[in-house]
């Protein structure tokens, strides 16, 4: 399935390292605008999206990538949610690498995913949750693979072309989970300083590994912290500034997905969205959603206005209640 040379680039640890070696690793200013950040994504990129499912999804960045009408992207995300549906509907992705795709139990199997995958418009390459996590981790470690005990024996092995490796000590056969070096990482965090040092509250998902694995790292942050705040809590920093290429200050940057402790996901919004899909079919419903939520509002604040302050405040209260 697919071009083997292209696939080789996924785990080419030498090439991935040379890319980093050629790049400045600055402790300096990283703050910029959403469109300037998203301009670093080009057609054909392997794009890793941080967070997981509807948690801490970098939706402001995803939206900007869609507004820039990018094409032929490969989306990599462990649990893929509405952002993946929008990317499919917008014609931005040709391949999705994931362990699971839908919104969540109450909304059933994703009809958008079924439509684009069953028709062959998008290839869905499935890896186990741990295996995909280890693909990022191997890349973060700068090695072409890590051994593991998962996925073996299953039909998933053939899907992604995973190989095995013999342990040189015991002789046992283990899964050799290949590294996955993304071209770009899109991440959303709780706090960052202007130099790109990032801190995350609650569950960390895989963002730290993804940041180390990618050639280019774009980050949005709920809160901009001072250099002094970073240095007062250095043990909270999970991504160092020197590997961040662009940082944008975007409160509610994951909405209507959740951000731990700050706002809960807007389940009613998901319900309205899936009702529209049920009523009008995946293509028309997603096209309409894209028109209203992605292409029409040019600024992120305009986008948030579509939800309204009252709804945002309600989701904030619910998050506080659940995490305090």
């Amino acid at each position: 399935m697919g071009d083997p040379a292209l696939r080789g680039a996924e785990w080419d640890f030498v090439g991935a390292r040379r890319r980093l070696e050629a790049k400045p690793k600055s402790a300096g200013e990283k703050l910029t605008s959403l469109d300037d950040a998203a301009a670093r994504v080009v057609d054909g990129d392997r794009v890793a999206v941080g967070g997981c499912l509807f948690s801490r999804t970098p939706l402001a960045l995803v939206r900007e990538v869609l507004r820039a009408r990018r094409r032929a992207l490969t989306l990599v995300r462990n649990l893929t949610c509405t952002e993946g549906e929008l990317m499919m509907g917008a014609g931005a992705v040709e391949r999705v690498m994931t362990a699971w795709m839908s919104i969540g139990l109450p909304w059933g199997v994703s009809k958008v995913m079924r439509h684009y995958v069953e028709s062959g418009a998008v290839a869905l390459e499935e890896w186990s949750h741990l295996a995909l996590g280890l693909r990022f981790r191997a890349a973060a470690m700068g090695v072409p693979f890590v051994p593991a005990l998962t996925m073996l024996g299953s039909d998933l092995v053939a899907v992604g072309g995973m190989k095995t490796v013999a342990d040189p000590y015991s002789g046992e056969t283990l899964a050799a989970v290949p590294a996955l070096f993304p071209d770009v990482a899109l991440l959303h965090v709780h706090r960052a300083d202007r130099f790109g040092n990032c801190q995350i509250d609650g569950y960390p998902h895989m963002d730290a590994d993804i940041a180390r694995a990618a050639a280019t790292v774009l980050v949005t942050t709920e809160e901009l912290m001072t250099d002094d705040e970073t240095r007062r809590h250095p043990d909270r920093t999970v991504i160092p500034g020197f590997l961040v290429d662009a940082l944008v200050h975007v409160p509610f940057g994951a909405f209507p997905h959740e951000c731990y402790g700050l706002y809960e996901a807007d389940f009613d919004h998901f319900g309205d969205y899936t009702s529209s899909i049920d009523a009008r079919g995946p293509e028309a419903a997603v096209a309409d959603y894209l028109a209203r939520y992605v292409y029409a509002p040019s600024a992120w604040d305009d986008y948030l206005d579509l939800f309204g302050g009252e709804r945002l405040a309600k989701q904030q209260n619910q998050a506080r209640e659940l995490t305090q």
Partner: protein
């Protein structure tokens, strides 16, 4: 069945009884989480729930049950939030005693399909959501328990696609595939409790729920079932178990 409980309640209660104290369990959202929470309240106070979103030791809030394994409701009052990869690595290292699973198709060797219906992966008849953490739970936990409605279309001779490996083709196939640990030990369904023959690894009827006949089971199973030398009858859900379970999901979001 005419008992005053739903299928989901039956599965949650039967599932909870499997869990011993001083152990750890990988619990997915819905019935598995309710089974684990019930065990913790009833007979396993030192059980630790682990949720694949990267959550250890949460206290589930009645009325605010999580919809996904990666959200604040799942993390409510957790003791640790180690991240997804590290959470599965706890299982790979051997720290996870139990894992719960379900699936669109289950075969006579306990293998589960949650990926595609149809024979060509790249051109599926039906594309399902995928493994999520199920493959990892099936590969890495010390013991895996399948909780599922018992339907003929679900219990197939051979799954279309092995998403989560149990005993593969039976015998020592699992070991030979490079999976030295774990495996599915029990399948708890709406009709009974099933194990696997220790040699062939074929599915075996171990116990029937009260009022269920062998014939009913065979009728709803798409492959020939082995039978334990003496097939037991399960103890029905007690009033106590039902009451406790129902306080966990007062809105009956998952209890049906």
């Amino acid at each position: 069945m005419t008992q005053p409980f739903t299928s989901a309640e039956l599965l949650a209660i039967m599932g909870s009884r499997v869990l011993r104290d001083d152990t750890t369990v990988f619990a997915g959202v819905g019935v598995p989480l309710l089974a684990a929470a019930l065990a913790q309240q009833r007979h396993a106070p030192n059980l630790t729930m682990v949720i694949e979103g990267g959550i250890i030791g949460p206290r589930i809030k009645p009325g605010r049950l999580p919809i996904s394994t990666n959200e604040m409701r799942a993390a409510h009052r957790a003791q640790m939030l180690p991240g997804i990869t590290d959470t599965f690595l706890f299982a790979q290292r051997g720290f996870l005693d139990y894992g719960f699973m379900g699936g669109a198709q289950i075969d006579q060797y306990g293998n589960v399909n949650t990926s595609v219906l149809g024979t060509d992966y790249w051109k599926p008849k039906v594309r399902l959501p995928g493994t999520g953490g199920a493959n990892d739970i099936a590969s890495l936990c010390k013991e895996v328990i399948i909780l599922t409605a018992h339907e003929k279309r679900r219990f197939v001779p051979r799954v279309d696609f092995v998403t989560s490996p149990a005993w593969l083709d039976g015998g020592d196939a699992r070991r030979r595939a490079g999976l030295p640990f774990g495996g599915v030990s029990r399948v708890v369904t709406t009709l009974g409790v099933f194990g696997f023959d220790p040699q062939t690894r074929r599915m075996r009827l171990d116990a029937l729920h009260p009022g269920v006949s062998r014939e009913q089971v065979r009728e709803h199973t798409g492959f020939p079932l082995l039978e334990a030398p003496s097939v037991a009858v399960t103890e029905p859900p007690s009033a106590d178990e039902l009451a406790m379970l129902r306080t966990l999901d007062p809105e009956r979001r998952f209890l049906g």
